[in-house]
Point group: C2
């Protein structure tokens, strides 16, 4: 977090339009840090910052500002600054920003772009939000296979200023088909007279523009890539996705899974205003309430049994709690394995069987412990026995549902984590109450007198 | 996953000691893919692979094999191959591997290393497991500030073969103090006669060797660094940590948080054998059982009340369920914010207050809904009223404990996610039952007759 003094100083400098002071301020900090402080100011002040420093000098800082703040700021910029800024932004960031603004303003921004850049934006914003195409930049460095290394280095040098990275350089033929990859390291260490096609790696791993961006992130982390090339169906280069964007996507994906498992909306942050947090959490709690009502209704079916043996009301909470815990264990193992690409569809049924078997073993072990405790506590071995059986059965339900729900959701092309914990808890609550109270009703004469 | 045919082919080629076939096999796939197939073979077979292909040709593949498989393989290697392999491995991977083996074998491996490499290993394995020092590599490229760009490029070229990265080059003085950073891109685009100190960036963000590696990963993702330099207390360069290692650490950290929130051991994988999964999950379920017993005991205190009004047994499950859900929401928001560095200790109390307030608002809203349903279901407004109050109170408890537990754990330098969901669930179960059944006992005459 930026110190309040720093933010106040920034504010004062902007108000005073003191370009020299601003240059000094900016030169002493990393663009990401300046952007963090800046993001806490009003959009009009941020626009003032851009005007004073100039779009070109602000660009690197501006790209670290969150998109929602960027889009608010644009409305306060003068037309020349806005036009310049939009034309020099990196294509992937610009496309993301354009999707953030309303249609009218998007039209206006498009009209400010040079023809070439405008076509570029229109191409990028047509890809679906979660696709590789939507996250790629079209600023990548290229070489021809028949160049020699000396020439290639000179060409890279010429491309360096405007490309997102020059550490991976893509080798393309005349029709822009991707035919190879050379790293700048390869170029630097090779003899100056070697030809690019002799030093390039020919087995280039690429992704299609319509592939899921999360799969691309998994791929990239597996191979330690600095960037992943994006191609069309004819293997023609369309763009690249760089490691820093993929890094953010991995982190966002993990946050999303954790949030969805805990029944939270991904728009929420620890710093969200009170009423926003309330608004985002209430729908989830109401859904959980639906699940709770089903469970409560199940219990109410056994009102007579509970009336006779009140101890059941205490002990049934343990059956539900253990089922919920075990179901959540299976759920998280499977959700994480799906996210990291560790489960293939062909092997799904094995995961289900294994989780059910783990549930059975754990249920028999833990159920025996609590069964013994319950038998001693209430002085009735029958109580212990039905507890044991109910927990063993409920942990099988937990294993089955905990693994089945996320796999089913994935097969339906939905997020495996979204709402899955509510499904699983409903299954273990209802299953646990049915098993435990049902068994208790069956052996009721043996339980009476407690 | 590697296809069974590929693995069998690999196995046959190794058995037949066919070097040419092996070279062909290896040249057609990415090292990470070869390593994946190889990892499924017996350690003796993997050692055979290394012997046939030679340590130098195998190195890149070998470094993609998991450390536990690597360490088993080493024991089957001939002495010359072992010595060569250990001496050419990258220092960070080698140090990690050396920590995996038993003390006797570690001694043997150390004796095979050249003096310089041996000292290097001893230095690295002395850093605590979660520190920046333990994850750094000492193979980084350096330059002197007074070199000109032409000379600098030549020096980088000479260093390229042995360094982990040459895209960030660290500028050090004669005593190896870190004074600047130049990227290879900067060098390529600068005039050949410029001096390094004039083009380098002087505000280099570095970390101390004893800093927590997770903090370093957060830092690196914030600034989009390719590598982070590690320095000692006198700002002398010790090593660098590259983005690919930090990427893995971020992913591992997310897995760890998700696993700990779900009460799972991080050693477990979706593919773990049945008995191992059982062994790793039982202790957690037994801990949850302890929490369940406390809750069950709380309920048993109100046996008489429940005996009179059995509807309470149904409805109390809803109070506990909503409390558990809301507590988990607060918990995950705070755990994730701690992991991403979004909460600073100075602002902790504000988070607690906010979460309690969110709990109160949500409790009043959701409690009103379920209170109305309960009143209609059982035809008793008093039942609805106590339900409303109990849920509002329990959701305040949920907000308080859900935010307090992870913050306290972090202040005690423990993992904020570890075991925290059990604490929070215990608080909301016990709190919910106490509030709901306690209120019911107070107004019992009004509830009777249902």
């Amino acid at each position: 977090m930026t110190a309040p003094e720093t933010i106040q100083r920034l504010r004062d400098i902007i108000a005073g339009q003191d370009r020299d002071a601003l240059m000094l301020e900016v030169s002493q900090a990393h663009p990401a840090d300046v952007a963090e402080g800046l993001s806490t100011l009003e959009p009009a002040e941020i626009a003032g910052f851009v005007e004073i420093l100039g779009p070109r000098e602000t660009l690197e800082i501006f790209e670290f500002i969150p998109f929602d703040v960027q889009s608010l700021t644009l409305k306060y910029l003068s037309r020349p600054s806005l036009a310049q800024l939009m034309n020099i932004m990196s294509p992937d960031d610009r496309a993301d920003l354009m999707e953030e603004v309303d249609d009218d303003f998007q039209e206006r921004l498009l009209s400010l772009l040079l023809k070439h850049e405008r076509q570029n934006v229109l191409k990028l914003i047509n890809y679906p939000e979660d696709s590789a195409g939507a996250h790629m930049t079209t600023d990548y460095a290229i070489l021809r296979p028949d160049s020699d290394v000396q020439t290639a280095l000179e060409q890279v040098r010429l491309q360096a200023a405007t490309k997102e990275t020059i550490y991976y350089i893509y080798v393309v033929d005349a029709a822009r088909h991707l035919v190879g990859l050379v790293s700048l390291r390869d170029l630097i260490v090779s003899r100056r007279k070697s030809r690019v096609e002799d030093i390039m790696s020919k087995q280039v791993i690429s992704v299609r523009a319509d592939e899921d961006i999360e799969d691309v992130a998994t791929l990239s982390s597996r191979y330690d890539f600095l960037a992943v090339p994006v191609v069309d169906a004819q293997e023609r280069m369309l763009g690249i996705i760089t490691f820093d964007d993929l890094y953010d996507i991995m982190a966002d994906e993990a946050t999303e899974d954790m949030y969805h498992l805990a029944n939270l909306d991904t728009d929420e942050k620890v710093g969200s205003p009170l009423l926003r947090s309330v608004k985002l959490r209430v729908p989830w709690l109401l859904t959980a309430l639906g699940s709770g009502l089903v469970a409560a209704y199940t219990v109410s079916l056994f009102a007579k049994t509970i009336h006779e043996v009140v101890a059941l009301a205490s002990l049934m909470t343990i059956v539900a709690l253990l089922g919920g815990n075990a179901g959540n264990q299976s759920l998280v193992v499977v959700v994480r394995a799906l996210a990291l690409g560790e489960i293939k569809v062909a092997h799904d049924w094995r995961v289900l069987l294994k989780e059910a078997a783990v549930g059975l073993c754990n249920g028999l072990i833990v159920g025996l412990v609590i069964g013994a405790i319950a038998a001693l506590w209430f002085g009735n071995p029958w109580l212990g026995l039905i507890m044991w059986l109910a927990i063993a059965g409920n942990l099988v339900i937990a294993g089955l549902f905990g693994s089945m729900v996320p796999i089913l959701l994935r097969k339906l092309n939905l997020d495996p984590a979204l709402g899955s914990s509510i499904f699983v808890t409903t299954a273990t609550d209802v299953g646990g109450f049915l098993l435990f109270l049902g068994l208790a009703t069956l052996v009721l004469p043996h339980l009476m007198g407690n």
